[in-house]
């Protein structure tokens, strides 16, 4: 166990990791370096309740300020790490201060992918959403704009479309791939959300690229590949995130679309760990990089255990959630690579879930307004058990029986 743990990045990983180290009795130094000027906070509400003004900043804080001082966690905000010197084990900050470490954790997160400058990406009111400061200025822009173009029909883009429509804007979503949610969900789920957004008056254009954004200083519209011009006074770019790996690259760590770690979340340097959006974990089953709160927590806890001298392997257990136009969807697993889907739907359509299979295995469930399907799916994916597809497709079959049957027997 080292005397000093330094964590670069001040988001979900840092808050979880620092708290877990203290809860487990680690009494060495903990320093958290964050380049934003805010206490570690939750990002998911930024594209949902926070942007609608239904949640205040204080509710986003993962812990209040007093927690860090009481737990003797040296939280350095507005502080940018510019280099890691692995030979002498220090982090160099902007302004040339150096912070020594015994264990270093890279929790640098990811950055929103921006629209190319050559295609109008530098026009005013072409925005991305990543930080609370982005959300605050976007919130103001949404309240003065009349029409918005959302580039990208992934979860963030669709959540933002929902918020903008709720605020009364005219909304168009343009997705270059053949359909919305193409990378992250199957056709049934995509159809559900397409119908939902259209019913709320949003225009969805799929399988259509954008030639360029138009405007002088300020964006005024977009020209599509078919020549159509869509007028708008605000553009939000939601075309994915890029892991923040510059420090790791410069330090000579192995990086491959993410800082590469082994299953213990250890990078190619034995005293440097990586967790959260920026980390790509290599396991015997392949390599995986996830952008989610659940993953950040799991990896932070793995790193905490291993810094404390444990040998805890990380096991991916992906889950996500989204909220659009008041519809809630919980997602268990990863559907990419599925070869069969089973749709489960109540007769009134109020709940539905899409179950994804690859060969004989259940790999993911998209559960719309149906927590039972989410929980059952999660347990079944974890258990690796065979799943009766006919039973799942029958909406009158009680999923609780199926999920409970897979739980280990509890002896009394």
């Amino acid at each position: 166990m080292g005397r000093k743990v330094v964590i670069v990045g001040a988001g979900q990983v840092s808050a979880t990791l620092a708290a877990k180290l203290r809860a487990d009795g680690y009494d060495g130094g903990i320093t958290v370096l964050g380049d934003e000027n805010t206490l570690p906070y939750q990002r998911p509400p930024l594209s949902k309740a926070y942007l609608l003004g239904k949640q205040a900043m204080a509710q986003l804080h993962l812990r209040p300020a007093a927690f860090y001082s009481q737990a003797q966690i040296d939280l350095r905000l507005g502080c940018r790490a510019i280099a890691i010197e692995t030979g002498v084990r220090v982090v160099r900050l902007q302004g040339d201060e150096v912070i020594p470490y015994d264990h270093l954790v890279l929790a640098t997160g990811s950055a929103a992918r921006s629209w190319p400058a050559a295609l109008g990406g530098t026009l005013e009111e072409v925005r991305t959403l990543r930080t609370v400061s982005d959300a605050d200025s976007l919130s103001l822009a949404l309240r003065s704009a009349g029409s918005i173009l959302v580039i990208g029909g992934g979860y963030v883009g669709l959540e933002l479309a929902s918020v903008a429509r709720t605020l009364g804007l005219a909304v168009t979503v343009v997705e270059a791939q053949k359909r919305i949610l193409n990378r992250v969900a199957g056709e049934d789920t995509a159809r559900y959300f397409r119908t939902l957004h259209v019913a709320h008056g949003i225009r969805i254009v799929e399988g259509m690229g954008i030639r360029r954004l138009l405007g002088g200083g300020r964006v005024e519209g977009a020209e599509l590949e078919n020549g159509e011009v869509i007028a708008c006074d605000l553009v939000i770019v939601g075309i994915g995130a890029i892991p923040s790996t510059a420090l790791a690259v410069a330090a000579g760590l192995e990086v491959d679309d993410g800082v590469v770690t082994d299953e213990f979340c250890r990078t190619s340097d034995p005293v440097i760990w990586a967790a959260g959006d920026c980390a790509r974990v290599r396991t015997s089953a392949g390599s995986i990089r996830l952008e989610s709160v659940g993953n950040a927590i799991d990896q932070a806890e793995t790193v905490a255990a291993n810094i404390m001298g444990g040998e805890r392997a990380y096991r991916p257990r992906p889950w996500f959630w989204t909220e659009q136009h008041g519809v809630r969807m919980q997602i268990a697993g990863l559907s990419a690579g599925h070869d069969e889907t089973v749709l489960r739907r109540t007769s009134d359509g109020s709940r539905s879930s899409c179950w994804y299979f690859r060969k004989d295995n259940l790999i993911a469930v998209d559960a719309i307004n149906d927590a039972q399907a989410f929980l059952a799916g999660r347990r079944l994916i974890d258990s690796g058990m065979d799943v009766d597809r006919a039973a799942i497709g029958n909406p009158s079959f009680d999923l609780r029986n199926l999920a409970k049957a897979t739980l280990p027997e509890i002896s009394s």
Binding site: L62, R63, Q70, A71, V293, R328, D370, Q372, R379
Partner: protein, 107 residues
């Protein structure tokens, strides 16, 4: 100011003060009560802010919604009659002195 008493697994009691409208989950998080994870931050998506409400207090809390009811089936520790999600218990004056127990695990 509304006081909530949290009994954690080692038997110790943490008493924390919150305000009208705050949730039991938020008070636990803001006061360093161990054992409340709250992965989804209060969106009722994850069932990791499970608490047991002390008998006597249960009747003063609005009943479990259908969605909370379903999520409670997925708690890490066994669901009991007095199981609730902390994020769904909003404080008001009638809950001053509320007593809850934090389960051994949220997973």
């Amino acid at each position: 100011m509304i006081q909530v008493h949290f009994t954690t697994q080692d038997g110790s009691v943490t008493s924390a003060v919150g305000t009208d409208g705050e949730s039991v989950m938020e008070i636990a998080r803001n006061n360093g009560v161990h054992g409340i994870v709250a992965e989804c931050g209060g969106a009722a998506m994850c069932a990791t802010c499970h608490v047991y409400v002390s008998p006597g207090w249960l009747a003063r809390i609005p009943p479990v919604s259908e969605f909370e009811d379903e999520l409670l089936e997925g708690t890490g520790a066994p669901r009991m009659e007095n199981s609730r999600l902390g994020c769904q218990i909003k404080l008001n004056d009638t809950l001053d002195g509320l007593e809850v127990t934090v389960p051994a695990s949220q997973y």
